[in-house]
């Protein structure tokens, strides 16, 4: 048993599950949005605006933002623990890894809040 306090769920199974579920959601969303764009050539701003400000789409977009955030954190956390560790960086590894992880978490949080403002801001 290896202890970890910086992974998303502190548990490998839950991280793995979150990564899979969020991947499916993102895939369905991306394919659906592309299909919509292909089916609506010459799309006008008004129609796009109406779609994006409808409540179902606002909810879907919110789920997508959270999915991207969770998916990105599981993936980037894995990258930092693979490549920013002892064999590559020696004694400074823990400090560098923690610093990069903190930076990434803050960046992801900013993106989430920014995304929520865009979706629900009602501009």
């Amino acid at each position: 048993m290896v202890t970890s306090v910086t992974s998303l769920g502190r548990n490998g199974l839950s991280d793995w599950l979150v990564q899979r579920v969020s991947a499916y959601l993102l895939a369905v969303y991306a394919i659906g949005l592309m299909a919509y764009l292909l089916c609506n050539p010459g799309l006008e701003y008004a129609a796009w605006y109406a779609l994006m400000t409808s409540v179902p789409m606002q909810i879907i977009n919110t789920l997508v933002v959270f999915s991207i955030a969770a998916h990105a954190w599981v993936g980037l956390w894995t990258v930092t623990t693979d490549y920013l560790n002892g064999p590559q960086l020696g004694r400074s590894a823990t400090g560098v890894r923690l610093g990069v992880q903190a930076l990434l978490v803050l960046l992801i949080l900013v993106y989430v809040l920014w995304g929520l403002v865009m979706i629900w801001g009602g501009a």
Binding site: M1, V2, T3, S4, S7, R10, N11, G12, L13, D15, W16, L17, T78, T81, D82, Y83, N85, P87
Partner: protein, 238 residues
């Protein structure tokens, strides 16, 4: 044919180097181990491990032209196209990712430490029967493809996840052994065994790239075993 071998003697060499040898194989499709023996006849300082020389003991795992394998059961014709014909050199290096003791002999401590962690023995607290613990043929069949592992370390040392985190990620060999006991109808420690595997590293650092499957000299499939353990964890926790 030309043979290029990784050489390193920590007592005399400042750093490892590749040494080239010219070997006459008389056109025969020798095993890589036989070629090493021909070289050792001339240069007794060349160091490597070997024992049974027939793929049973797992001593001579090494990296042959970029792919891990057992030297004793790898014929030159299967190393890479052109090696047997002498058009390409045979390149032999130690197993990647483990500390080199000398030349092709590596320190397997990290590998064995991970093996020890999965408690690779039957745990059953009930009194032992007079003769043996019986299994149905169906239950016995469940450990086929698992018990055959000879711990040569070809799989774990071809796995990047094991290279980056050899102390945290158990590696394909230890995980295959873990599933060998999880799948055994006579073992009673399933809950305890699974309880040690659900952190983000021990098992879940496997990204499923299947290097382990492509190199296993016994044709075993550690990735599938890891998948089975993952399913068991999922069934228990969802």
């Amino acid at each position: 044919m030309k043979v290029s071998i990784y050489r390193y003697n920590p007592e005399t060499d400042r750093e490892p180097y590749m040494q080239d040898y010219e070997v006459d194989i008389a056109g025969k499709d020798l095993m890589v181990l036989d070629v090493l023996a021909l070289i050792k006849d001339r240069d007794s300082s060349l160091t490597y491990r070997r024992s049974c020389r027939e793929g049973v003991c797992g001593s001579d795992g090494m990296n042959i032209n970029g792919k891990n394998g057992l030297a004793c059961i790898t014929p030159l014709s299967e190393v890479a196209p052109g090696v047997l014909e002498g058009k390409k050199p045979l390149v032999v290096r130690p197993l990647p990712g483990l500390p080199v003791i000398r030349d092709l002999a590596v320190d397997m401590t990290m590998f064995y430490n991970q093996y020890e962690k999965v408690k690779p023995y039957l745990i059953n607290e009930t009194p032992a029967p007079a003769i043996e613990r019986l299994q149905t043929p169906e239950d016995r069949a469940k450990i086929d493809g698992l018990y055959e592992c000879i711990l040569c370390a070809c799989c774990s040392t071809s796995c990047p996840s094991f290279w980056w985190n050899p102390e945290k990620f158990l590696g394909p060999a230890a995980l295959l052994q873990s599933y060998r006991f999880l799948a055994d109808s006579r073992d009673q420690a399933t809950t305890e065994r699974l309880g040690h595997l659900d952190d983000p590293f021990s098992l879940f650092r496997c990204r499923g790239i299947m290097n382990c499957v492509s190199v296993c000299p016994k044709g075993l499939n550690p990735t599938r075993a890891i998948g089975h353990i993952r399913s068991m964890l999922l069934e228990r926790a969802v």
